[in-house]
Point group: C2
């Protein structure tokens, strides 16, 4: 069967092309009954929305919606700067919505941005909100930092970093620096970043022949809640170093270390995933896995504009950007010489 | 003359009430010619838009637009969290737009958010974009952190902190700690925060009978551009301490101090306006003027919702929240004892 177009959908649903377009644009002015009829026609004909995006889009607003999962995390705000610098070249506007890592807020952000007729979306998902089906029919969407649920595999452009290898390198570095009992505070397993960074930790232990010790593994979240408490528990379990899986968790780690009067790196060595600007200037400076944060935003927005403006119809792709370990003082034991 | 209402405006402009409403709501579907006619009628009749906001508003979207001047500055993102927590109580959505301290981007943000039919606005202005006239006729708007231009004095609700006294206290603390040559890196004078923090510096010198020294005064900006260079210039002018007027500038100061291998607080004492979470955990910890950042957002959004939902029509007010100096290690000279 040849690809259906919007007129076929309209004919089958017995509505006008404009009404189909309104349904596709999530316009509020379509009745529930009509919406269902149109959606049934779309499914019956296996209509792909890109037809619409290409020629018949009526509500172009030159606005891109960006959903970020924690506005307090400098990772996301720097990523937004990358998005914005590309958008300015194209004279597009950016509107942001923050979800605070709450799936319900993510759903609201998505509803709201679609109701504002954005031309495309960049989404750093919470991991817990896995309802992107209405975006599947060609609505220009790029996921960043975290993959959507496996059921959408291959359906959306995605820009990520190499979390597993970056984390493994960080933990191997701690081991090679002379630390013996390496703790980890993992982020939520619901997000692919949380899951993969934890996998990287396990991979490093395996690579170096160190058995896993459950008392050295703590499950936190990327907001950093409870990170001070989890740090105390790790230190009580005689951990001598910690792999901290994002910069928000690091604040709680520092709080606990300071309260306990311990010294970094001798009493406890630290490596953090995500290099925030201040970490290089402090004493001791932090060993960190540096992400190409700005580049993630820039890449995502470039991919999105290519979909929107050049009508690029290639299959969605996953772009994985490399990370790099920056060795500084927080992982340098005094009885070790590091070249 | 009795207060004109929207029907009077429509009659004088020879258009429908709906058209007047569209002009007031910044709808794109009104021709330039019609818009001018309506605006002339509004001016002739001295029509105040609050009539519309009170009863006839047709496009309520339960969305508030927030304009922030630098998304990389944690001050603004924490303020947004305060806004969001109030908005959630009322089931309102927040959309953000970032201006990067660029007046032209602020103008675009304002255009875009109004075109998205937000129900109200919270604006942390750039200081350089002073065209808020279209918001004056009762469009629910609260300015935060920075006052709009003097020409709008008394026209908008505004939530600020006490920059002058907070800065004066910080600089007096440096003097009282034994520092003699106190430098300052000021933010842009175009923003009231930049201007007032600099005034606070001057006030402290005057209070302590210390003459101003031009070589100890550097004009930077709140993005922190050039802050490392300005720090070097201050240190070359034999400054023994620096009052840093925001947290973004602090990063450049730290960079310069680290490059020059100087020690804080003995070679150079530091006090920063704005206390960011990490500053308390590092070694030496930073003496900082703590702003009620979250509270600013919370207060602004509460005032805005009162305007929108309770039709509060009192004259706009200015709310000035207090700041507090938190004395830590970066301003503690070793030859001084601080109680």
């Amino acid at each position: 069967m040849a690809n259906a177009n919007i007129s076929d959908v309209a004919a089958l649903a017995k509505v006008s092309v404009t009404t189909v377009s309104r349904v596709l644009n999530e316009s509020a002015s379509v009745s529930h009954k009509t919406r269902v009829k149109v959606q049934e026609a779309i499914e019956t004909l296996n209509y792909k929305r890109s037809d619409l995006a290409r020629g018949l889009r009526i509500n172009e607003t030159k606005t891109i919606g960006v959903i970020i999962s924690n506005i307090l995390n400098p990772f996301f705000t720097r990523m937004v700067r990358g998005i914005e610098d590309v958008s300015q070249n194209y004279n597009y506007n950016i509107v942001l919505c923050n979800t605070d890592e709450q799936p319900e807020k993510e759903r609201k952000c998505l509803d709201m941005l679609l109701s504002k007729n954005v031309d495309g979306l960049i989404i750093a998902g919470t991991g817990g909100m896995n309802d992107y089906t209405r975006l599947e029919n060609g609505f220009p969407t790029v996921f960043v930092d975290r993959r959507p649920d496996d059921k959408y595999k291959g359906r959306f452009d995605t820009v990520l970093v190499d979390n597993i290898n970056g984390s493994a390198e960080a933990v191997e570095h701690l081991i090679d620096s002379g630390y013996k009992r390496i703790g980890v505070i993992a982020g939520s397993n619901e997000s692919t970043t949380g899951y993969e960074r934890f996998l990287g930790y396990k991979k490093a232990l395996k690579n170096r022949g160190i058995p896993e010790d459950e008392s050295l593994i703590k499950y936190g979240n990327f907001l950093g809640n409870m990170a001070d408490q989890l740090t105390k528990e790790l230190l009580e379990a005689n951990c001598d170093s910690i792999f901290v899986t994002n910069n928000m968790i690091m604040l709680g780690v520092l709080e606990a270390v300071k309260k306990l009067g311990m010294r970094i790196p001798d009493d406890v060595g630290l490596v953090v995933f995500d290099d925030v600007e201040w970490m290089q200037y402090i004493q001791p400076s932090f060993t960190a896995v540096a992400q190409p944060t700005y580049q993630i935003g820039l890449t995502a927005m470039t991919v999105l504009m290519d979909r929107i403006l050049n009508k690029n119809e290639e299959a969605p792709k996953e772009i994985v950007l490399p990370v790099s370990l920056i060795q500084r003082e927080s992982s340098r034991k005094q009885n070790q010489s590091i070249v």
